[in-house]
Symmetry: C2
Amino acid sequence: MKHTDNQPIAWIEAEPAPGTFRSVFKWGDHDRFKNPSQGFLKVIKDALHLSANDLSQPFNTGETSIPELSPTPLSSTDIHALESIVGKENVCLDTVSRVRFATGKSMEDILKLRSGIVDCVTDAVVHPRSRDDVSAIMTFCNSRGIPIQAYGGGSSVTLGLSCSRGGVTLVLATHMNRLLGFNEINQTITVESGMMGPDYEKLLNSAPETMGSRHRYTGGHFPQSFEHSSVGGWVVTLGAGQASSYYGDACDLVISQEVITPCGDLKTLEYPGTATGPKVNDILKGSEGCFGVLVAVTMKVFRYTPENRRAFSYMFPDFESSVLATREISQGEFGMPSILRVSDPEETDVAMKMYGLDDSLPDRFLRMRKLMPGKRCLLMGQTEGEKHFSKNVAASVKKICRRHNGVWLSSYPMKKWYHSRYSDAYLRDSLNDAGILIDTLETSVTWDTLHHLHSRVRALIKQHPHTICMTHASHFYPQGTNLYFIFITRMQDLESFRNFQRGIIAKIVENGGSLSHHHGVGKLMGPFMEQHLGKVQMDVLRALKRHFDPNGIMNPGGTLGLD
Amino acid sequence: MKHTDNQPIAWIEAEPAPGTFRSVFKWGDHDRFKNPSQGFLKVIKDALHLSANDLSQPFNTGETSIPELSPTPLSSTDIHALESIVGKENVCLDTVSRVRFATGKSMEDILKLRSGIVDCVTDAVVHPRSRDDVSAIMTFCNSRGIPIQAYGGGSSVTLGLSCSRGGVTLVLATHMNRLLGFNEINQTITVESGMMGPDYEKLLNSAPETMGSRHRYTGGHFPQSFEHSSVGGWVVTLGAGQASSYYGDACDLVISQEVITPCGDLKTLEYPGTATGPKVNDILKGSEGCFGVLVAVTMKVFRYTPENRRAFSYMFPDFESSVLATREISQGEFGMPSILRVSDPEETDVAMKMYGLDDSLPDRFLRMRKLMPGKRCLLMGQTEGEKHFSKNVAASVKKICRRHNGVWLSSYPMKKWYHSRYSDAYLRDSLNDAGILIDTLETSVTWDTLHHLHSRVRALIKQHPHTICMTHASHFYPQGTNLYFIFITRMQDLESFRNFQRGIIAKIVENGGSLSHHHGVGKLMGPFMEQHLGKVQMDVLRALKRHFDPNGIMNPGGTLGLD
């Protein structure tokens, strides 16, 4: 990695060698890379006060091999028992497996591995072939007090996968990724929980060919981790996709769940609406593997009509007016756009520079219209649904944006965003290689707390010298939205990062934000849960935990703040 | 009550005398009555094979006084303790109060009272003035093991209010009916749980005058019991209103709840979307007073734009095509009508006769179009929301109905229905006076089970000689709907009725229907719960019950099948 001002940085664009730290923490496909554009790099260098020299020093690139772990503490009897359930070939005890499947994609996971720290590994990686395998493993582990963790796509950013008490990690995507049923009459699909996002969506988009259906369908769930997350993972962590404002959050999409728990197996009923007491289907959503292992889900599906989509973008004079426009859109009773995003001034400025629009003809036009850097805000999105519905939503959005002095910017920014909606996640590895920290925290807010929380949290982040803080809202409800903070700074050591990050989380909660809008809780947010929800509510979750998992074997060690 | 074929029936149209059985079981306002139209009466007489003489014998009209109960079993110390909390004037021990507030509006409640049977009364009626009163009562009763029941509007049709273990009944509508807060920015309202439907809706409709808001609002929740049910009651029983297909069921409307439980008081957070583990707000919905007393709710509100409403009705050649049309509407991705109803052939025929349309000019027109009695089905509804949205939904409905050979019938049937949407509940008392039983059972179904369940349940009901069985679906989701069975027959004795009704419930469950779509569970459906949900799911509800209510004081005696 070399860099002078005249010479481009030599980004690492080699597949990580097997067995290296890098092979574990690298995002996504091993042969896919994304480096910051010249525009983005210039933004970062300016904001972080970096010299060419700063960037030429590669930082803990993790290209060395992970040293052999000491052998699994599981007894040979236990291992034999697991092998007799799933077959010898589906039990892995090698170091890389034990590290990989106990690692998520949080900045903490990555910084640790870049520093050569390996802890909280699993004792055995098991690839169950079916719900019956999971059931047999559950019975066995429960009787032996062996912890069970479930691993879907591995994209957790909340330390949801680390195995602080060792035990067994069940990798669901290996075999348990099958279609179990498609019901076009009810517009539902039933899949094993380990099916990955792209397989799920492809199956639905091509339903006439693959499942003999009359229409094409979509699952409507597109988190940034879409390509590397599983359907089950969406459900157990209460995820939300980029099109959630129309399709709903993951919790809205789940019709029924089949779960294997230490206290028994259950499958919730498939009624779209019932009045038979508190709904066990709801109680299980967001349980993050603490109550049991989700083995199958029945999900709502929607008609796939990309031909009806309409992209839009507007520039607003300031954050207040752009947020007000999104509120009026969300409360306007004409239906919701699928994608809706509004960026604060700093994110807007960075976006303009990233897309090479700074000081361009469009930029000069915007400045003439008094839409000035440091103040102006970008709003963009997309409508879908039935043709006239989509058209009317777009027309209503236009009317509201104009009323609040939004200037039409064409569908170009949306196209740019769409193109990089999943690939931006690859940027982090490149930036980290250059010693630049990039991380995110997100929260949900009601409309009346949004600006206060935004300014307080932003102020805290900006207290750290030479730090970029970009914020957007991207999931909308009539009653509020989320705020998504992206911070970029020069920070390389784990403890400094942890202190900085925990400080931001505390500031979010202190200012009335939720601990999490869609990243889940994991072991990262766990310690904040009781303060956030209060003891009486936490006691309810603890009572459920005791009921489902009396021996405390399910994803133990602080997930959801339960133990 | 006298009747010959030439002489109209002398319906009882006097306010029930205070202290009588009738004063307890009569529906709604004491000075409001509704008798069957000549058309409806003729339908009934024909179907039930009734002579004029049959109808002239009034049946157990309950005009006698309820005999004095033996004194409350509560000790004078306990009574004094309650009085010291809420004031002497808010503790009632008289017979009528103890019967009234332990009685709902199920056919079983009514038949019992008409037969002079009084059981399962409460030991003391308490009118708490505030959440602090409820909290103090909770602490006291929990320490003494005294049962607590909560009474909202009293419209339960599932034996949800009977006090099989006596104890204290808290009447929430007396004092705890206040507005606690209105947040126009977030589009939420917070009210005490005892606020009644009409007060709630009036407050919202007149928000600019009463709360100084910019817009008018609606709560969007209109169950048939609207005029005599409370906001809290909607939430704890998982109700659904007549406009639920657009606004959502009660469970979709609740942003947060404040609940006093034996294990502590809690108020859930107000985020519209979060990912902080299983949501206690969801866990409490539908708990029917078994976990605690709901004292306040924060609900979503919606813009009130009656000027945008569009009513529609169509006649279809058969039930299959009309149901198919509602399915295509529900899956069409253009938004939902607020009201949507489809009647089966028998209900359609009865409606035509009730509205005096049988053999009218429109009827002859329909027959010419091959829309024949015994086959044809009425579909009707209403759209609302933003002007163009509402218009597009109505246009989309029209397109779909035409495609399935629905014939446009104008907005007339919808107007007729709208006019009697709440008042039809008064009909039951009149019919009961004439010895005619009318009752309902409802279930939720997925689209693929609808017709099978409809024909099986209908066949069972029609096995009973001379019985009308009308069915409609009235709450729609992309994945299914509900079926609402109304049966009218000659049946006067409690045991026959109970056997008949329990047989229908068993038949619904046996054929894949939910135990309840929006009536809740109460003590009526309680015994079926374990069979319906399975032991593992019932154990989850039992674990929650044990946690919230370790001494088993909350609405005990079989509610939700928990004890």
